[in-house]
């Protein structure tokens, strides 16, 4: 696992962030004790991941996509070219055997994300726990990340947006993608798509810490192995697939 080689560097970064002084004005500082109040694993070497079992995923089921649209208020305008799409169902067919698989694809939350590499402003960034996000305060809407992503996971916001969800600010002119429901993860919950999948009974999606050898996701990856989409690009996604 390439994550482990990164652990020492993360530990160093976590130590540096433990005591942060933010200068507000001359003579005024905001002191933040970061580490004690951090929910479990935020600055330690946690790697959030999702394991998707293509064998359990039903071609007719769209529950994860709908749950995502509901969670983030992704309004559709019947304009497929520009409508937001953070997670989509993909069907692949083996032309020889005719075997067909259906599974969801979203931001893969890569360990080495190309979107972060190409971002000219640093708006595209990876959190210490592996979740890849867009900082809309810095994003200038150049769309390099959309071009760079091999998974076509990023979207550009083309429409004015009103009444955003309080936990998910979105605005016209910026890039956006699946956040792995970071607001739910930080509260100790699982992403909306994973919840919805479990609700349908398919249980094709499993969320957990890939770096914790005792977590269910790690055990299943260790036992059955898992496929990384476009593994040749060595992005090492946090979203893994089984049964492809």
């Amino acid at each position: 696992m390439t994550e482990t080689s990164d652990a020492s560097r993360r530990g160093f970064l976590a130590g540096a962030a433990a005591f942060t002084l933010v200068t507000l004005a001359p003579g005024v500082t905001l002191r933040v004790a970061a580490q004690e109040t951090t929910p479990a694993g935020k600055t330690r070497a946690v790697r959030w991941g999702i394991l998707i079992d293509a064998g359990a995923c039903s071609p007719d089921c769209n529950a994860c996509v709908d749950a995502c649209a509901t969670e983030f208020g992704l309004a559709r305008h019947d304009r497929p070219q520009s409508d937001p799409q953070w997670i989509r169902k993909v069907t692949v067919t083996d032309p020889d055997s005719g075997n067909s698989k259906s599974f969801p694809v979203m931001c893969q939350h890569c360990e080495h994300p190309p979107c972060v590499d190409v971002c000219p402003t640093g708006a595209s960034f990876k959190r210490a726990d592996g979740i890849v996000l867009v900082d809309r305060h810095i994003c200038i809407g150049c769309r390099y990340c959309i071009m760079a992503c091999p998974y076509e996971a990023r979207n550009f916001v083309h429409e004015d947006i009103v009444d955003q969800k309080p936990y998910a600010p979105r605005g016209k002119g910026t890039a956006e993608a699946c956040t792995m429901c970071v607001h739910r993860v930080d509260e100790g919950r699982t992403p909306a798509c994973v919840d919805a999948c479990a609700g349908t009974g398919h249980k094709a999606m499993l969320f957990g810490d890939l770096n914790d050898p005792d977590s269910e996701i790690s055990k299943r990856v260790a036992t059955f192995g898992a496929t990384r989409l476009r593994a040749d690009l060595r992005t090492n996604p946090g979203v893994r697939y089984q049964g492809l």
Binding site: T37, L133, G171, D186
Partner: protein, 407 residues
């Protein structure tokens, strides 16, 4: 909303009274001076039968002459053709000054007074910011060039030089104000209070007080300088020597100069002393220890929130988005939810509504924000009444923060 009542009338301090008086006196002198100078100019034109502005070459029709005159007054036409560097620096100064004055309208005008025209005041704000950079640069460069050319003809009295120095110094002090986040809400209340004869307290911010004191000095001196006069004359700077027979003649009357100096000291001395005493008493703000930014911030010095809320919000942003702190506390959504104001339909009003907590103040002070292009500006109180944290509680002056143990 009750606990955020910023208009509760505190007792007027000596500082407020001194500066209010100073500004009334300065405004009276400026207006009287402008009136006298205008009368003299009209008299001069009537007597000589001609206007001291180049009118040729121009179309002989009235419209042609008007256009020619306007190009002289607004574009400094003859200077453009006679002395290109003087025009470049002069134009930077004059257009910069115009934009700066337009930007400062927000401190003197309530949106309700001018209706839709308020949009112009909002629009001019960023231009005024850059105008304030052009102003001292243009004036300073012009002055240095004048000294370099050893041409003191255009600035022949001490008053002219002091006025020009003030015009350079005032914007520079103004930018310091910008940097230290002066409480402009209180400044506007003070200024509007002066206009409506309903005095409001003036903050004892040393940089602000210096800025205002220099402005008062400028207002008093301007009528005695040729820089006030609005009509340029060929290569001469404005109209020379209206306070005497010719350029600089009045300054040779030393008893007049002494009397003026004593009067000036009497007008400007007491406010300066009172301001200095008040600043020493209050200290360099923000002096009060600020315990509990989010929890109970209204009970502390309210000006801290007024002045520093953008910094707080960006700090939250860094904590929440970059460091992965809890997203459910200390963010702009929590501010918006707690400060939600319900409209007629019982749901919270949006940012563009004049009642909105953020919108009301930002609209009134012509400060444009784009927070709500991404963030929701109308979150009901119930949905997002979030647990308070005291994580940002330790806001103190740096001296007491550094070196102390972690909480």
């Amino acid at each position: 909303m009750d606990e955020f009542d910023l208009n509760a009338p505190p007792p007027l301090s000596a500082l407020t009274i001194a500066f209010a008086t100073l500004f009334y006196v300065a405004a009276a002198i400026l207006l009287l001076g402008l009136f006298v100078q205008t009368v003299r100019m009209v008299y001069r034109v009537a007597r000589s039968g001609r206007i001291d502005v180049p009118e040729t070459p121009a179309d002989a029709s009235l419209a042609g002459r008007a256009v020619r005159l306007a190009s002289e007054v607004f574009l400094l036409r003859s200077t453009f053709f006679s002395d290109r560097w003087a025009w470049i620096f002069g134009a930077a100064f004059h257009f910069g000054l115009f934009l700066v004055l337009a930007r400062h309208l927000r401190y003197f005008i309530e949106p309700a007074w001018i209706g839709p025209l308020w949009k112009v005041v909002v629009l001019v704000q960023p231009f005024g910011f850059y105008g304030g950079i052009a102003l001292p640069l243009g004036a300073g460069a012009w002055w240095i060039r004048q000294a370099w050319l050893r041409d003191h003809r255009l600035l022949d009295s001490r008053v002219d030089r002091v006025v020009l120095a003030l015009l350079i110094a005032i914007p520079l002090v103004g930018y310091v104000n910008n940097y230290i986040h002066t409480d402009i809400v209180a400044v506007k209340a003070f200024m509007v209070g002066l206009l409506t004869f309903d005095w409001k307290p003036l903050p004892s911010d040393p940089v602000l007080l210096l800025h205002l004191w220099l402005v008062a000095l400028l207002m008093i001196l301007l009528p005695f300088s040729r820089l006030l006069l609005l009509i340029p004359l060929g290569r001469m700077l404005h109209v020379p020597g209206l306070l005497g027979g010719g350029p600089g003649s009045w300054r040779r009357k030393s008893n007049v100069v002494w009397a003026a100096a004593v009067l000036l000291l009497a007008m400007l001395g007491p406010p300066a002393v009172i301001a200095a005493a008040q600043v020493v008493k209050d200290g360099i703000r923000p002096a009060p220890g600020f315990a509990g930014l989010v929890a109970g911030h209204s009970t502390e010095d309210s000006t801290v929130m007024i002045r520093f809320h953008p910094k707080f919000l960006l700090s939250f942003r860094t904590m929440v988005v970059h460091h992965g702190e809890q997203t459910t506390s200390d963010n702009i959504e929590r501010c918006v939810s707690c400060h939600a104001v319900n409209g007629a339909d019982g749901t919270p009003v949006g940012y563009n509504d004049p009642q909105h907590f953020c919108g009301s103040c930002h609209f009134r002070n012509a400060v444009t924000i784009d927070c709500f292009e991404c963030h929701n500006s109308r979150i009901p109180k119930q949905e997002a009444t979030l647990p308070s944290t005291t994580r940002f509680a330790a806001l103190r002056p740096r001296a007491s923060t550094e070196g102390s143990a972690r909480p």
